[in-house]
């Protein structure tokens, strides 16, 4: 039983790591301001979701009421990130649009 919990939680944590690395690499590789926001703002949301899920699964080792409450608290973090992340992404995009920055397109690449 313990080994199943360990395998599940470690694989969830590794998944989260892959998503976070993808976000970081995406910020470096994308061509312009707007497309950089896609990996930055969004791969993080699933990254934090899988990581917290892994930690919650690890809590099942000592199942008690306190641990259940702790897991709910950890999922509250995910909930607030899911609320705050799109808002922050939107305000950054809006700032770029107001400043008049033109998005990168395939045509510009060819010129």
């Amino acid at each position: 039983m313990h080994i199943i919990i360990n395998i599940l939680s470690v694989s969830c944590l590794l998944m989260g790591l892959v998503f976070f690395i993808g976000g970081a690499v995406g910020i470096m590789r994308m061509p312009d301001f707007y497309s950089r926001l896609h990996p930055a703002g969004k791969l993080d949301t699933l990254g934090i979701f899988t990581m917290v899920a892994g930690l919650v699964i690890y809590n099942f080792h000592h199942l008690s009421l306190g641990m259940v409450l702790l897991s709910i608290k950890m999922f509250l973090i995910v909930f607030f990130v899911f609320l705050a992340s799109p808002t922050a992404t939107h305000s950054i995009v809006d700032a770029g649009m107001r400043a008049g920055l033109r998005p990168w397109t395939q045509k510009k690449e060819k010129e």
Binding site: G26, M30, P31, K42
Partner: protein
């Protein structure tokens, strides 16, 4: 006139109750103590907060809004599945060696016909949460401008997601 005032009182009482229940559940989850004294203190502070702020958090809530909440609970798992699918697509794009040929950033505009603020906000947040698309502007008439990273992320946009959100908030046209 009399009846109208009565309905208003009922709505106020309902939003008072829902604020109280919400605050008390938050108290229990965050404290984790179950001694009578601490639970009593929780009831007291939740009551006072609900008394002062019931017209702030769930202003104008009525009993019919429970249906909206239940439909939202059905919609949330679907949204999470969409987020996971789109995240894997994004991950594929990020690690692809010829990424600059695969992506095709462009801006699309469409009219959704959603009316209420909460529906427009939910749709805008859902569009931004699914990777590949970011809401740039959303106006009060339900018009959206969305920045999409490639054609595949953009193709399903005004369709399914708009219908889901419209169904949650009971706006069919």
């Amino acid at each position: 006139m009399q009846k109208n005032g009565n309905e208003k009182n009922q709505a106020g009482f309902f939003s008072f109750m829902i604020t109280f229940v919400f605050m008390f559940i938050t108290w229990i989850v965050l404290s984790g103590y179950f001694e009578p004294l601490l639970l009593g203190l929780g009831v007291l502070s939740s009551l006072s907060i609900a008394w002062f702020f019931h017209d702030l958090l769930f202003a104008g809530a009525v009993i019919q809004d429970i249906k909206v909440f239940l439909r939202f609970c059905q919609y949330a798992p679907w949204l999470i599945v969409e987020i996971i699918k789109a995240n894997f697509h994004m991950l594929y794009l990020v690690f692809h060696p010829r990424m600059h040929q695969l992506i095709d950033p462009h801006i699309i505009q469409f009219q959704t016909g959603l009316k209420s603020d909460i529906a427009i906000t939910t749709l805008a947040n859902a569009i931004t949460l699914t990777p590949g698309t970011v809401t740039i502007t959303a106006n009060a008439e339900g018009g959206f401008r969305v920045h999409a990273i490639d054609r595949k992320s953009a193709e399903g946009l005004p369709g399914v997601m708009r219908d889901r959100v419209a169904q949650v908030f009971g706006e069919n046209r």
